[in-house]
């Protein structure tokens, strides 16, 4: 059963890039983190395996482990294991397999799975956040996250309700704040992003365009605040590095790739500032995934012929 995995070196590199974040996450929240990642991957693998079982010579693609891991990294450390399993099953089933499997999905599977469980189980996904361990050996000597919990608003929610920062910029940057497994440490995510760009695993255009767009619109919506702080708190940076660069669902055209980033950034900030939800990145990416095919159709049909005409 396990020798039937399609090898994809690109996907391996994404997994390598996640390892440092995983270690920091274990340090902050205990060994249960590893169990969450394992369960999520197992569920993703089994879903794809069950779907492909009847087909001849079909192999489970390496990409399921990327989806499973990325999904696990966006969950809070206190998440019940069955929700993690459900999320990654939905991600693989409705995000990928119904469209025909690897390489054919329209939406980003990990983001779809996360949005599904976020909307379905808001209690478990948003109410309690574990405070990270500090000092040595920290979470390496613990199984579950500390009993020290924060109830209520996350860093983004607190900021919107009161206008005050719950944590300093340095804490938010290094990752010693409560939050989801892999998204707290901005530093490691930036390093991973650089690694992905250097090894040509991910394109730099979607990262840069989304980044600039989030910074710009944060400044437009909340001019008095430091846009970089809003960037490093919450899941936006994790999403920029790992989610917008999904090789299948991202936009590919020369112009479309910039429109893609611009839209994600605008919608992220809009939803963060104005809607019921504090974290907007996942909704923004899903909406953008839904909008891009028609935008690309328009660009191919009208904009590119127009440019060609001008040149001629």
């Amino acid at each position: 059963m396990f020798n039937k995995i399609l090898r994809q070196p690109v996907m391996n590199r994404v997994l390598y890039a996640l390892i440092p974040s995983l270690l920091v996450s274990i340090y902050c929240f205990g060994w249960r983190v590893l169990l969450i990642v394992f369960i999520s991957n197992l569920s993703a693998y089994l879903t794809e395996y069950l779907f492909l079982r009847s087909k001849k010579n079909a192999k489970v693609s390496m990409a399921v482990f990327v989806t499973g891991s990325l999904l696990a990294f966006t969950l809070p450390p206190t998440i019940p294991l069955w929700i993690a399993a459900l999320g990654s099953a939905v991600a693989i089933l409705f995000g990928k397999m119904v469209f025909g499997g690897f390489g054919l999905n329209i939406f980003n599977p990990a983001i779809l799975g996360r949005t599904f469980i976020y909307v379905s189980f808001p209690q478990q996904m948003t109410i309690t956040w574990a405070k990270p361990f500090t000092g040595f050996p920290g979470g390496f000597a613990q199984f579950t996250a500390g009993s020290d919990m924060i109830t209520g608003a996350t860093i983004l929610g607190h900021f919107r309700n009161t206008g005050a920062y719950l944590y300093g910029f340095k804490d938010a940057f290094l990752g010693t704040i409560p939050g989801s497994l892999g998204e707290t440490s901005a530093l490691l995510i930036i390093l991973a992003g650089i690694y992905l760009i250097i090894t040509k695993t991910a394109k730099w255009q979607p990262m840069l365009s989304t980044l600039l767009s989030i910074l710009f619109f944060s400044w437009v919506f909340a001019p008095a605040e430091n846009p970089f702080y809003l960037l490093v708190s919450g899941g936006a940076l994790f999403g920029i590095v790992y989610m917008t660069t999904d090789p299948v669902s991202q936009s590919k055209g020369k112009y479309a790739i910039w429109v893609y980033g611009l839209l994600i950034g605008f919608l992220t900030v809009l939803i963060r500032q104005k809607s019921l939800f504090y974290e907007g990145f996942m909704f923004a990416l899903l909406i953008t995934n839904a909008l891009m095919p028609i935008i690309e159709y328009g660009i191919d049909k009208y904009l590119i012929p127009m440019k060609a005409e001008k040149k001629a």
């Binding site: 119904v98 469209f99 499997g101 054919l104 949005t115 939803i271 104005k274 839904a290 095919p293 028609i294």
Partner: protein
Amino acid sequence: MDINAFILFWAAIFTSNILLTNFLGMCSYLSISREVESSFGLGMAVFFVLTVTAGLNWVIYYHILVPFDLIYLQFIVFIIVIAAFVQLLEMLIERFTPALYYTLGIFLPLITVNCAIFGVSLFLVIRKYSFIQSVAYGAGSGIGWLLAILMLAGIRNRLKEKMIPQGLQGAGISLIVTGIMALAFIGFSGIVIVQ
């Protein structure tokens, strides 16, 4: 209802999209989203009919049905107004722009039974919108419907129909995609409250 008509217009497009949050007007949305061009034509027709009938039905409801105590007839009257208007529109389009008439073909009369249009007429009564608000809500809902069908048409254009599991081809995958789009649009909720 005290809400700026301009804001209501935007809200009807995004936060309470008639198709993706109320799930109205699904039938023609699913069947005519195969090609981008025809879905655009249908969407524009729906937008136009929605805008005008929202205004017409408002006038008829508050200036004929309410004064003569005939509110119990509202369902029939609204449907008649919509059907009559679509007929009129059809004749005008045929007379003045035959080309457009043949592109739209069967879609034009189909608009009569599009539940989004009837739904908007009922919402504006329940939510007690003023005339300006009603027209803005109708126009916004029309644009929202156009946006939704264009999004689906774009996605279906990109799908590789042959690779999709057999039982899900056609309407099945369209419904799944619509579900995911609706999930995404939940993100807008709470920006404006329309009712």
